[in-house]
Amino acid sequence: MADPDQFEINDLLSVEERLAAEALIVDVEGYEGPLDLLLQLSRTQKVDLMKISILHLAQQYLIFVEKATELRIELAADYLVMAAWLAFLKSRLLLPPDPTDDGPSGAELAAHLAFQLQRLEAMREAAAKLMARDQKGRDFFVRGIPEEVARLRNVTYSASLLDLMQGYARVRTKDEFRPFVMDREAILSMEQALERLRGLIPYAVEWADLASYLPEGWELDPKKRRSATAATFAASLELAKQGQIEIRQSGTFARIEIKARTGR
């Protein structure tokens, strides 16, 4: 980092700038990173950020780092990384372009840095303008006595006649009867299902899930449920064919619902 140009650079700086640089060193804690510091340094050039001399800025920054090192102020790594990058940028800007090097030119890099500084500056101004706006709770106010919307929740309970009958059957089978169970195997034949469904049809006045027509005790065991579902479904198709019931399904894999075909 020993810069042969250092004296020259020092000479380039006015007394004012040197004082500013020293003041900066004391305040190093006050900067939010290298970009923030660069933005502050660029202000000492007292020109529009569009016209800023990036070469000059790089020199200012390198001096800052140099001084900080002299004063044994420990700089965070990102300040040193930026210093190295700026030294690289400076050499690019000072040396004639090397035709064998296909990397970005010094001018491109300088333009990007200028863009970053402008963008940061713009965002700071935007933030200041935003905070200067009228703010809720400070400049304008909301309703002091809001009337919250009262939500009246009306719950209606529904039960069908079939639910009622099944409920009663469930209760009654506890003593006198027990649910129909195929003791041998977990298989319900379609004929059995058909028999069952035929008996139930007169009560199927409303659309109801086919699953609710499975025989008692067949819904819990997966094997039995599968068999009962298949048989009941086949039986319902048969009954539909015979014109005794109607079947509907709203979509693929949706519930299959049946109801008695009403002649009324």
Binding site: G144, N154, V155, A159, R172, S189, R196, P202, Y203
Partner: protein, 222 residues
């Protein structure tokens, strides 16, 4: 305390003394009206005239401004009302319906409730003890209350037995909901069995026959 302090007195004196007499000229009344409007809107509590005056610039006539504002809001969606000695903005009473939102939710009746209802329907009049005996489990008060609230069951006559327990019967709105003419229209036990809702336990000896039957049926079917 008998001597009114100038601040409190301002309410009285503003009316007769012209505003020009004040060192700081009071804002025009229209502006004062804007002020009371904003304060009434934003304040979390009704605002008294004294408090309002205290918040407005010197020389303002809060009372006059409030009365002007009240006139302005006549017939609008909100009104400026006086509550005791304080003022507030309130929704016009005829628009109260906008402040509530009704949602209707349909829920399936619980299994306990359905069973209890079914037992009442089939066995009415029926005491709680009887329901519990038939169900084999105790019936929670909540279940009974829910059915009472739905107006599907109601209290019947007390049973003339020790303790004179209340009985439950189903209501006309129960019959209405389930599309029944009377509770006698409920399918009987025999019909339930015929419908396959009640299946008697197959006799152990008949197992073989049953399975033969079934085989026959399968053959028939194919």
């Amino acid at each position: 305390m008998s001597e009114p302090v100038s601040d409190a007195a301002s309410d009285d004196t503003d009316l007769d003394a012209p505003a020009e007499a004040s060192l700081f000229e009071a804002p025009p009344l229209a502006e004062q009206e804007r002020m009371v409007e904003a304060v009434l809107f934003a304040s979390a509590n009704p605002v008294s005239v004294a408090e309002m005056s205290g918040r407005m610039p010197h020389g303002c006539n809060a009372k006059a401004a409030l009365e002007m504002l009240q006139k302005r809001y006549e017939g609008r969606g909100v009104r400026v009302v006086k509550i005791g000695e304080a003022w507030a903005i309130r929704t016009a009473p005829d628009l109260g319906f906008l402040m509530q939102k009704e949602t209707v939710e349909t829920r399936k009746l619980s299994r306990a409730a359905i069973e209890t209802l079914a037992i009442v329907a089939y066995h009415q009049p029926c005491t709680r003890a009887e329901i519990e005996e038939i169900r084999g489990v105790s019936v929670s008060k909540g279940t009974i209350d829910q059915l009472l609230e739905l107006e599907w069951i109601r209290f019947g006559r007390r049973r003339m037995t020790p303790g004179r327990p209340v009985t439950y019967v189903v209501t006309p709105s129960f019959l209405d909901h389930f599309g029944l003419e009377s509770a006698r229209d409920l399918p009987g036990v025999r019909e339930l069995r015929a419908a396959g809702l009640l299946e008697s336990r197959p006799m152990p000896g008949l197992d073989d026959e049953d399975s033969e039957d079934q085989d026959d049926l399968f053959e028939d079917e194919s």
